[in-house]
């Protein structure tokens, strides 16, 4: 269950971050859907997603190529990826609509922006999964800055320890923000983590001066 709706962050930061999921429904339309999903995958890939992957292989950011993702589509096939601009997301949705393969399509992002895209493409959205925040013993959670990166993996596999470790290295000038953004991406195997957004989030950690490090 890719909980892409629980990405934390400001509206400013979330507006360049969209997650696309194309899913066959087990027991309803999964049979014989592999070829349909391959077609969808090709169109999606042509629009250069920020990240794409699969449960079976891992992501392009960890060294998997699209052929591997294509070959590994299983009997309940699905496409998972992220885009960094509304324009690209819109272009992909337009193609998927034209392809008309009958697979379920969800987009996660700022609700207003997603509904705006649907309107432009004359698509009537079916339903919505609203994020109603985090409850319970929230005092035990790491800082909001860490949560913004951690919650980009919908399966909770990016540990706060990894994010903190990478932030520390960026501060010490031992890692670039891009390298940190990619390293943090690796545990997110299905490919909904957005490295472009991560890089922007990490840019606030400029390397400290030598005297500050001492």
């Amino acid at each position: 269950m890719t909980h892409s709706l629980h990405r934390r962050g400001t509206e400013e930061s979330l507006k360049d971050d969209y997650v696309l999921l194309v899913t066959s429904a087990y027991g309803f339309n999964h049979e014989g859907s592999k070829d349909k999903m391959r077609k969808v995958l090709e169109e999606v890939f042509a629009e250069e997603p920020a990240n794409i992957g699969s449960y079976d292989t891992g992501t392009i950011l960890s060294g998997v190529d699209i052929q591997e993702i294509r070959d590994a589509l299983n009997d309940v096939p699905r496409v998972r990826c992220s885009f960094s601009t509304k324009e690209k997301m819109l272009a992909v949705l337009k193609k998927i609509k034209e392809l008309d393969q009958g697979m379920s399509v969800t987009v996660s992002g700022l609700t207003e922006e997603v509904l705006d895209m649907a309107k432009e493409l004359e698509i009537k959205p079916h339903c919505i999964n609203l994020s109603l925040e985090v409850w319970g013993n929230v005092e035990k959670l790491p800082s909001e800055e860490v949560l913004e990166l951690v919650t980009m993996c919908g399966h909770g596999l990016i540990s706060s320890g990894l994010v903190e470790d990478c932030i520390e290295k960026v501060k010490k000038g031992r890692m670039t923000t891009r390298d940190a953004a990619i390293k943090i991406s690796h545990p997110c195997v299905c490919g909904i983590y957005n490295p472009d957004r991560a890089e922007k989030l990490l840019e606030k950690y400029v390397p400290l001066k030598e005297e500050e490090l001492a």
Binding site: M1, R7, Y26, N29, T111, E112, N129, G161, P187, C190
Partner: protein, 242 residues
Amino acid sequence: MRIDQEKCSGCGICIPYCPANAITIVNKKAQIDEDECFECGNCSRIRVVRCPKKAFFEQPGLYEGTRAARKFFSDPMTTHSVTKIPGRGTEEVKTNDVTGRVVRGQIGIAIEMGRPCLGTNMEQVEQMTVALGKLGIEFEEMNPLTHLMEDREKGTIKPEYMNEKMVSAIIEFGIPVSQMVPVMDVIKEVAKELDTVFSLDMIYRFEEDGSLPIVPVLEEMGIRVRKNSKVNLGLGRPVVTR
């Protein structure tokens, strides 16, 4: 998960990756606290941790005992044996246009216990499911957690699973809109007693005119609806029109 002590060089690369903080260096070798380990598989993946000594291995018999629950709830690279859905076992809003699980007049609720960051054990999950059981909730059949229940009406978990821990476990059910207020009140009450956290979702079918009348009701109850969400665009077939 286990680490072959002969192979491990104690380099420590794997330590920050573990979402359970279960890996430590003892006598210059990495060791896993098996009680804390979620069996998420992160550390053993060749494209994630890339252990230079390929020292990680799954314990024999992992899929046969109750510990398998850790694996199925934590590792998206497994397919759950009950729901046959890859990932962690439910499709909630993702295929609702095809399955029609949540129709107009109803809402779907998902409570993802342990998420973000803290993980959960079954005891905390049961705190929530038992409280909901008292309201007569019918838990979702296509959700793996429901299959670990001893008594689905009461919401009790099979005792043999009580010591299992996982990245998260999703409690999922549908209710009529009219039941929303008492259900949310119970969820809010249990939240106060928990040692972990949960992320709360609500699935709602757009009205014919595209509106979401549920949002102001939630806000009136003091429940914040975040600006980002997941929208099912209704491109699946057969589209469920109810």
